[in-house]
Symmetry: C3
Subunit: 128 residues, 3 copies
C-alpha cells in the first residue's frame, strides 16, 4: 500500500502516525510487522516524540548544523545535504502490529522527513 505525503518546506518533519494507523487498520492483518519504506533519496522516515512539536524543530536544527547547505559539495544538483541527511536518518522503519494497531511506545510517533521539499512524496507500507 502507498501513503501519499505532501511537504510544504525545504526541510520538514511531518507526523504521519494517524495516516499509517488508518492504513494498518484498513489492511486488517491482525498481527505482524509493518514496514515503512521511503522510495526517495532526499527524504527519510523516523520514529520519535510526537507530543511536543518543538522536538521536530530541534532535530532539524541540529541536522542542518551538522550537514551545512554549503560545504564544497561535488554533486551539481545542489541537494547533497538532503542525500546525506537521508543516509543518516534512514529509508525504512519497522513497527509491530497487534490487533490491527501499531505497537508504538507512549511518546512515539512516525515522521516523514522531508529534506529537499516542498514535494509530493510517497511512503510504501508493507506487511510481514
Amino acid at each position: 500500500m502507498i501513503c501519499k505525503v505532501r511537504s510544504s518546506a525545504q526541510t520538514e518533519l511531518i507526523d504521519i502516525t494517524a495516516k499509517i494507523r488508518d492504513t494498518v487498520k484498513s489492511a486488517d492483518i491482525g498481527q505482524g510487522i509493518c514496514m515503512l519504506y521511503v522510495p526517495h533519496t532526499t527524504a527519510a522516515i523516523t520514529i520519535n516524540e510526537s507530543a511536543d512539536p518543538s522536538v521536530k524543530d530541534d532535530i532539524l536544527m541540529i541536522l542542518n548544523k551538522i550537514i551545512p547547505w554549503k560545504a564544497g559539495y561535488r554533486h551539481l544538483e545542489g541537494n547533497s545535504p538532503a542525500h546525506i541527511k537521508s543516509v543518516l536518518v534512514g529509508a525504512s522503519e519497522l513497527v509491530a502490529v497487534e490487533n490491527n494497531r501499531l505497537v508504538l511506545g507512549t511518546w512515539q510517533g512516525i515522521f516523514f522527513c522531508e529534506f529537499d521539499g516542498p514535494r509530493n512524496r510517497k511512503v510504501h507500507v508493507n506487511f510481514i
Copy 2:
C-alpha cells in the same frame, strides 16, 4: 517478548547480546529474523563491536560532540539531544536467527543506547 534494561548513567551503551541470545533461545523459533525494537524516544539500539569496551566510549564521545547539550533547543524538557541521538542511531535492529542462535558477525554485539538516563527501559523482541 520484552527484555528489561536498567541504565545507570545519562548516556550509556549497554551490551545486551547475552540477554537477547537467551530470549531467542527460549523463544525456540529455530530459524527466522529477530526484530529488536526500542519503544522509547530518548534511547536507541545498535549493533557494533563488543570486544573492546572503549569503542562504546568513543561512540558516545562523538555523539555528545556532534549533538551538544546546549544549542538553543526549543523543546523545554531539556532532553532534545537525547531525541536527536535516538533519531540518528535508530529505534530498531534486525538479526537473522539460525538453529535458535543469533547470526552475528565475529565482532558484533547488540547495544541498548541510553541517551537520557538513568532509567528503567524495555526492548521489544519480535520474531518474523
Copy 3:
C-alpha cells in the same frame, strides 16, 4: 545467501545494486522482503542516489568531517571513526521484492559502505 564485496579504499561507497538484483533473481522468492545485513562493525549498508557518483563522495566527505580521524579516541586499534560511522549509517536495510525484482525508487541504489578498508567483506541476504 552471501554477497562478497571487495573494497579498495579506506572509506568507500560501493554500488552493489546489480549484485543484489542478481541474488534476488536467483533466489526466486517471487514476492516478499529482502533483508541486507552487514556482519562487520566498521562497515554499513545504505540506500541512496546511484545516478550521480559524486553523491557518494559528498556523503563520505561529510561523514569524515563529522567523525574526524583524530579526536582523542580511547580504542587503541585506531579505527574508532569507522565504528562510529557504522553505528550512524546502520548494519541493515530492507527492500520489498515483487516478481523477483527489488522495489527501489527511481533514483535509489544499494551501497556497501566501507569505513576501514581495503578489505574483503560480506553482505548477508535473507528473505522474509
